[in-house]
Every structure is written in C-alpha cells, then in structure tokens.
C-alpha cells in the first residue's frame, strides 16, 4: 500500500467522532474564551480586551461575589478531600479484606447514593434536615444531643459545610470503588512476604498497601478537584440560583449560571458569564497541570 494515497476508511472511521467533538466541545470552549473579550453596548458586540476580567477581579461589586464564590469552592473541595476520600479509602480497605462475607452487598448498597440525581439528593436532605419535619432533631434527641440541632441549611455559617457533607455522602462510592479496585490488584505474595516479616493488620495497610495505592489516590484527588470546581447541580437543587442564605453557598458554577442566565431582576450577561467560565477553565487547567507534571511524574510507581 502506498503511503501517499489517502486511506479513506481511516477518515470515515475518525470523522464522526472528531466532527461532533470539535463542533460541540472544543469549538464552543474556545469560542466562550473569545466571547469573554467582548461586551455588548447598545445591542452590538464590541471588543473590549481584558476589561471583563478587570471588572470580575477588581470591580467592588463583582469581585466581592467572585472571591466569595472562589473561596466557597475551595472550602467545598477541602471538605471532599478531608472527609470523602479518607472515608472512601477506609471503606475500601475493609471491603477488600479477604473472606469478608456480604462484601458485594455492602458495596452495592453504599454505591446507591452515587447513582441518584442531585435533585433527589438535594431535596431529600433538605426535607430531612428541615426543622419543620423534625427527623434530624428527633434523631439527635434519641442520642441525647438535641441541643446541637440547628437549621443547618438556613444558617450562613453552616450551610456550605452541610451541603459539602451532603455531596460527600453522595459521592463516597467513587473513591471507594477505585481504591477497592487498586487494593484488589495488589498481589497476595507481597502481603504474605510482609506477614513473614511480621507486618500484619493495620501496619500492613500503612506500610505496604497505602504506598502501592498512592497513584489511585492521586487520580481520585484530581477527579474530585475537577468535579468540585465545575459543581452546580446540588447547590442549585437545594438552595436555588441565589445560593442562599445570603450567597453563603455560592460556588463558581452557580455564580456563572446566575451571571450568564440572569435571575429575578438582573439580566443575563453572556460576556461576563464567559469571563467566569474563563476563570474556571484557568483554575481547572492549573489543577490538572499540577497533577500531571507535579504529582503524577514524581510518584513512585511500583512494578506489580
């Protein structure tokens, strides 16, 4: 076969995927970044350079909202890293124990919240935590801690943390499954070799298994990062587009939605919305680069 002739079947095989992907994903992505450089004056689109970003970062009204959303987003991410991933790893460590009975049953049950939609999860927890219905206070009363109850979703200081924990509840299944898979792939010989040296139980986990699953923990961290910085649905379903009370649960996704689509009396502004999308893109890109070049390449991979 001559190499200079176009082999049409390759083109035919590639074309549909490349076309759809380019037209609906890559092109809009760059077009959004381009739109961030424009503004609308008297219904005509004019080029304004970096003006929208200047407004976003330095204008008192905009920047206050932006930094608030960004800070909230980091807190949201931090809670996932500190609560979701350790719980996921712990559950996986228990599940991967050889000869544990009903492991498949536990695994399937714990994964159920992950398959539910944000709308269901948001409203279900809203109802359960509601002081009107009284499930949460009466359960706390049962263990004698009723005084701890507060309308968590309605208080500025607790609402974001509460929603982050609801999200943790929903997604704990994902780190659990991925770590579980990584733990299962550790060969039995290595663990037995450790046993001969007297390393068993908890110390086997810390000294043998944990170093071996570090690459999986890295993948989970970056998945959590990208997922959290592009989150929207749960906050919208539970608190609405205004991310109440008083914007205390506002994250970048809800901020972008409000800006771009408008709400109540404020009109939507696609150009400022694009600027926020540009900021989100930059944050996610930085995160992914830190992972790819800073963490993944330095991590020691063990040949198993």
């Amino acid at each position: 076969m001559s190499t200079s002739r176009i082999r049409w079947h390759i083109v035919v095989f590639l074309a549909p995927a490349v076309l759809v992907y380019t037209a609906v994903m890559i092109f809009p992505l760059f077009n959004t970044l381009r739109l961030a450089l424009y503004s609308e004056v008297d219904q005509t689109r004019i080029y304004v350079g970096l003006q929208n970003f200047r407004t976003l970062f330095f204008d008192p009204i905009w920047s206050e909202q932006f930094w608030n959303a960004l800070g909230n987003n980091f807190w949201f991410f931090l809670i996932h890293m500190l609560v979701q991933n350790p719980i996921g790893i712990a559950l996986a460590a228990i599940l991967s124990h050889p000869r544990l009975r009903f492991a498949a049953l536990y695994r399937s049950a714990i994964f159920i919240p992950t398959i539910l939609s944000f709308v269901i999860v948001g409203f279900a927890w809203k109802l359960i935590l509601s002081p009107i219905w009284g499930i949460a206070p009466s359960m706390l009363d049962f263990v004698g801690l009723k005084s701890l109850f507060a309308p968590w979703l309605g208080k500025e200081e607790y609402a974001l943390t509460t929603l982050a924990l609801v999200s943790v509840w929903q997604f704990v299944g994902i780190p659990m499954m991925l770590i579980y898979a990584a733990l299962l792939s550790i060969p039995e010989e290595i663990l037995e070799a450790g046993e001969i040296d007297g390393i068993t139980g908890a110390s086997a986990f810390w000294k043998i298994k944990l170093p071996l699953i570090l690459p999986s923990i890295g993948i989970i961290s970056i998945l959590t990062f990208v997922g959290n910085f592009n989150a929207f649905d749960l906050i919208y379903a539970a608190q609405g587009a205004l991310a109440g009370p008083d914007f205390s649960t506002d994250i970048l996704g809800t901020f972008m939605y409000r800006t771009f689509f408008g709400f109540q009396l404020q009109l939507g502004d696609p150009h400022m919305g694009s600027a926020i999308a540009g900021a989100m893109f930059a944050i996610i890109l930085v995160g992914v680069c830190i992972y790819l070049f800073g963490i993944q390449t330095r991590m020691r991979r063990y040949q198993l």
Binding site: R7, M25, R107, P113, S117, V119, W169, M177, I219, P270
Partner: protein
Amino acid sequence: MNRARSNPFNVAGMHGALILYTLIALFPVFVILINSFKTRKAIFREPLALPDAESFSMIGYQTVMKQGDFFLYFQNSMIVTVASLFFILLFGAMAAYALSEYRFKGNLLMGLYLALGIMIPIRIGTVAILEMMVATGLVNTLWALILVYTAQGLPLAVFILSEFMRQVSDDLKNAGRIDGLSEYTIFFRLVLPLVRPAMATVAVFNMIPIWNDLWFPLILAPAEETKTLTLGSQVFIGQFVTDWNAVLSALSMAILPVLILYVIFSRQLIRGITSGAVK
C-alpha cells in the same frame, strides 16, 4: 490463613463499620420512600414509622399524576439517554478502531486531541454552546442534549475502547483481509462483537451522568415538551414545595427508574470500575 488476618473481633468490627455506613447511605432514600405512602398527618407525626392500614395514602401520587407530565419527562430522558449512548458507542468505537488499528501521520496527535476532553468539563463552553444551538434552531429540542452528551462522552469512550481494541488479535483481522473482507466489514463483523464487554462498561459509565444531568436540560431544553425527568422533578418540586405528599411522591418516582437501572446494571458497573477501565 494467618491468625492475625481473621481475628473474630476484627471481623465483627469490620461488619459493624460497614453496616453503620450502609445505614447512613440508605437512610434518606428509605425515609423518602416510606413517607411517600403516608397521609400528611402521619408524615409529620411519625416520620420514621412504616405506613400501616391507618396511615397509608396514595394522595401524593395522585397529585403528581394529575399535575405533572411525568410520563412525558420519562420518555424524554429515555430518548436522550439511549440516543446519546448509541452515538457515543458507535462514533467512539469507530474512532478508537482507527487510532488503535492503523498507523498514519498524526495518529498520536489525534489521540491526544480526543483525550483533552477527559479532564476538561464541557460545561465551561456553555455560553457558546447555547449561542450555537440558538443559531441552528436546536434550542428546546432533544437533539441539542443528544449532541452535547455525545461530545461529552466521546473522549473517555475513545480512550477506554482503544485500550481494549489493541488486545484484539491481529491474526483474526488479517485472516479477514485475506478472505477479501473490507475494512468496514472487519470492524463491524469481527472487532465490534469482541469488544462488547468494554462497550457495556462505557455505556454504564455514561448512562447515569446523562440521566441525572440538570445543567444542560435547564439551559438548552427547558420547554415543557422537552423537559427531562431530572429537570421535570426539579420544577415540579419547586412548585409544590409546601405539598409534602406530592414532593415525597415525586422524589420517589424520580428515584425508582434509576434504582431499577442500577439493580439491572450494577454488576456491569462494578465490574467495569474494578477491572481498571479508568486507570
């Protein structure tokens, strides 16, 4: 087995921890389901009690059936999910085959280009996507959603499927070539059936996020005729927020299809994740 690894005290502790967490995971779903079958009074008086002869009521479901067009929403969700999966699998498998089977200039570059979308969320481009859908008249049609979900699902599908296609034996394909089969016949008749398990994994991975998505239905197809089940229940619950029977019933009806799908596909899903398809 070593004694330290099967200590009965440890085993009890492990089961205790797992049971505790399973209860935490299932409790909210359980509370919603049992209360959707109760009268308003019973919902508030004894929220944790199972419905009995006295407290049983279907009033919530009747309201939902009367007020919301859940059958239409369900149908829309079904169409969008099935069509998107079909295109993701067909286009994804074709592209994966081209990348894994043929050596051509730009092969690696094309693979990297398609893989970009694994890490970058498509939502970032929403403003321009909406503009494009408005310009092409696709806004408020199911096609807008199908296109977006197809584009979103393709990168990971190509990535996973090309890993699997590399394992299909060359002898088989070459035998087909000697028999005079065209490259298309080899792909559809010989290769596709062999990677069916990988296709099922890709399908299950994509199914749940598409079915549950709120962002794109809200922005691209919020019209009454094109609402998906997720958006429909969100709007319905927002309107009936004080009618607890209706809200609980709507939630239960939204939970049910996903739960059924999960029961059918959970083996496939868990096998897919644990077989290391996403490493």
